[in-house]
């Protein structure tokens, strides 16, 4: 298990921008931190809303 924590004011998102997370992630051994990137909270919130709309429409 690997714990990763984002910088202040940032959260993690999946690299393909398919999901938005909080600032802490516990990675399993078959996962990699390379699958995630940090994003500013405001931007991440916007991405989350877009994802919600996308899923709602699809």
């Amino acid at each position: 298990m690997t714990k990763i924590e984002s910088k202040e004011g940032f959260v993690f998102v999946r690299k393909d921008h398919s999901a938005v997370y909080d600032n802490i992630i516990y990675l399993s051994d078959i996962d990699s931190k390379d699958n995630y990137e940090e994003m500013a909270k405001d931007e991440a919130e916007s991405l989350k809303n877009r994802l919600i709309s996308y899923y709602e429409e699809n």
């Binding site: 298990m1 909080d22 802490i24 990675l27 399993s28």
Partner: protein, 351 residues
Amino acid sequence: MAFYSATGTKLLNLPEQVQKNIDDIAELKESITSLQNSKQDVTGAITESNLQAKIEDIASLSLKEVSVTGLTNTGNTVNNGTLDQEGKATAGGDQEVDGNLILNSADNVVDKDGNKLIQSAALDDFIKRYNAEAYQWKFAGACINTNEEGSSNFNPSVSMSDIVNATNLDGLFSKAEFRCDVVFPDFTASRVNFQTIVEQATATKDFTITFGAGNIFPFNMMLSASSTFYAHLTKILVADGKTCYLTPYSTNAFWGCQSVTEIGAFDMSKSQNNAGMFFGCSSLKTLNCVHWVKSFDISASTAFEESDLVEIISNLDTVTTAQTLTMGATNLAKLTQEEILVATGKGWTLA
């Protein structure tokens, strides 16, 4: 000259042409009756006033046709959607009745020669009861209410037992008003479409929905209901001892169910995408789904206690490609390192 009807009833003194018509009727009827294929009796007494109508009735008959009063096969009559011989025809498979094949499809009710039967009111009703596609919108606009109060628009003929063989329940409760708990029967189909079953539905009392056994396709299942529906739906359960699969994906299944505190033990082993499954489920506290194999997100709720989260983790299957249980930082903080290790040890990332 003697005047008798086709059934032997002595008639009034009728003109010669009328008697000839009666004789023609009798001959036609005898001919039809002797045939083994589908047939339709023309019933009722022949009188001078309805003679022309009777002639037209019989003239319009041809083999394998169905009249407005029902479909008959030797010894079996379809009337008001039921066969008089129990179990002769049911949905879920094609049925052969005296050589005539009834295909389980709204568009294909054919005889043994492949000829389409002419649809009629009776046949339509038959199809509605036994053909799965026709269950769409079955309860649309109904008042889902088990007691007398405000039941003026409740249709007592509506029965959950009618839908056990359904494959498509899209819009099942569209615009319905919920006032009591709903209990689904066990479903027989390999997949039952539950898409937008509660579109524009309302509710005036708290209620729960309980599923039986089956394979439910819950895409957008709870989407687009009214705010009162979401305010009063408190639990979505699976009956004890039943296995209810959500399959093949559960996108948006419980979207918007803001008052739901408990979701039952759905089997998630066949669900390949759970995106948006719990969006808006801000009151969710007990999630008993089992055999999770694909990522899901419960971060919309912070009502979980540590034991609730531990239970969820215990229901994760071990995976070989990384999956993510997204619960948010607030929920993550409720777990111990050991409890988190249980999840990551099964290949699950906790976020």
